[in-house]
Symmetry: C2
Subunit: 289 residues, 2 copies
């Protein structure tokens, strides 16, 4: 056992030193980069195995996981990060949970690479929310269709949280928002901003309209209304598609209005998370104008 450089007596978690990379107690943190064994692989349809866990990475994201509805059941980290997380790890909500403390080398052996951020939290996926839940509680929603890039989804969550968007609704063709890389890029906001997947796409958009939402489709189409003139409702859903193809015509027909961000000639559309941030800003800044 290495000596304990910090006094662990005031922590709510149970600090357990790990010196053997094969210790089965840290199996939930193993092979994070493995395509087919990573612990945050969703439980797949057709019986294909996946642990369906959620991994938080780094001090900030682990702290946000503790504050979220994704209750962690264990942590793995180096002593330095344990110290940095002292306040969060003293919270009654983590009482009795194991904090597996390891050297950077043993930790690298477990997760499969050297993890700069030095600390991980792991949670089971809670029950998913329903689109109807979002429709009745939110006043600004981001709706994504075909966004299959994890970093873009993470950035949408980060921008949503920063600019006052209450929820994210996933239409067809989107990637898993609970993949580690997405959670990290979101700065943990993928765990804090409520989200749901539309079971019936794009029909579920009528649920938003029935709850008073104006559904604004973002498109580079020059015949669309300028964004600054499109956002007028008390409840707004901004719908964005993947870079390149954009929203499907079917999805846009299910929306209320098509809006465009003014773009210079000869340029491409903006990155999807950037376009979404501009729409969120348009709404957030409305009260100040």
């Amino acid at each position: 056992m290495p000596p304990s450089p910090i006094e662990t007596g005031d922590l709510a978690v149970d600090v357990i030193d790990i010196t053997d990379r094969d210790d089965p107690r840290v199996d939930d943190f193993r092979d994070l980069n493995s395509v087919d064994r990573r612990p945050d692989l969703p439980v797949l349809p057709g019986g294909r195995p996946g642990k369906g866990l959620v991994i938080a990475e780094g001090v900030l994201v682990v702290a946000r996981m503790i504050a979220s509805r994704f209750s962690p059941h264990a942590f793995l980290g180096v002593d330095k990060r344990l110290t940095e997380l002292r306040a969060d790890l003293s919270d009654p909500s983590v009482a009795g949970l194991p904090f597996y403390r390891a050297s950077a080398e043993v930790m690298a052996d477990i997760v499969g690479f050297h993890l700069n951020r030095g600390v991980l939290g792991v949670a089971r996926r809670p029950e998913t929310l329903a689109a109807a839940d979002l429709a009745t509680t939110a006043s600004t929603i981001a709706v994504l269709e075909g966004v299959n890039d994890h970093e873009n989804i993470g950035s949408v969550f980060r921008n949503a949280a920063g600019l006052g968007v209450d929820a994210v609704l996933f239409g067809a063709g989107c990637a898993d928002p609970l993949y580690r890389r997405c959670v990290r890029v979101s700065m943990g906001h993928a765990l804090l901003v409520p989200f749901a997947s539309a079971a019936n796409w794009p029909h579920d958009l009528t649920m938003l309209r029935d709850n008073g939402f104006e559904i604004v489709s973002l498109t580079p189409d020059e015949s669309a209304v300028p964004l600054s003139q499109a956002v007028t409702g008390a409840k707004v859903a901004f719908m964005v598609g993947a870079e390149g193809p954009g929203l499907t015509e079917t999805a846009m027909r299910a929306g209320d209005i098509r809006a465009r961000i003014p773009m210079a000639r000869g340029t491409d559309s903006l990155n999807v998370a950037t376009a979404a941030a501009i729409a969120f800003y348009e709404r957030a800044s409305r009260a100040e104008r």
Copy 2:
């Protein structure tokens, strides 16, 4: 020599087949990922060698390099990309330049990894522009301080081009905007949007003010003016700092006004390129309100 699947007679470039990875004619494309040998390493002060070349990667970016002031002197690519670039490679501006055609395998051996985008252009760095040139010709300028992340700089260029910003001015502490990764993330706009480095930072900002620019510092500081109320001048320079530290107090004092994007409580500042995009949008959308 492999057979030529396309008719190269109407091309302005001179197609030369490369089958030997050690062929010295393709030295400018060698070891693209090497920290100390990559050809786009700037010529460093103190006599340390660097080729100081600029590398364009992929069909779109190579086409933009051809259209830019960064005149390419050679290309390297697989036959498929040569075909896709046919129109651009028939332009008189590239007449007689070598297009080194290689298999994907030989190309991977030369550049040091498998390059999905399959085509490269290389140019020498042209004379740098002066801050004074930007101040007299532009009406919207992005000013960066301490932004040392290549992808963020690339995104700033992309957003600048898309949202009608005329030029980028680099203050102290910024990374090289002509690194391959930056050029790629910018979608080639780092080659098209004029930029300059401030020789005397932040004193050179007075040059902008003398030319009628309102200098707006973006900051999360709650005592700052909302961005929607800050952007009023006919000429505007938006100043942004790196994620985390933000702008230095010295830089902000050299500006005219501090502006904030309305942020939700308990969230972090936005990514620097996203914050810049929002400022660019605020200005671009002003005419429509």
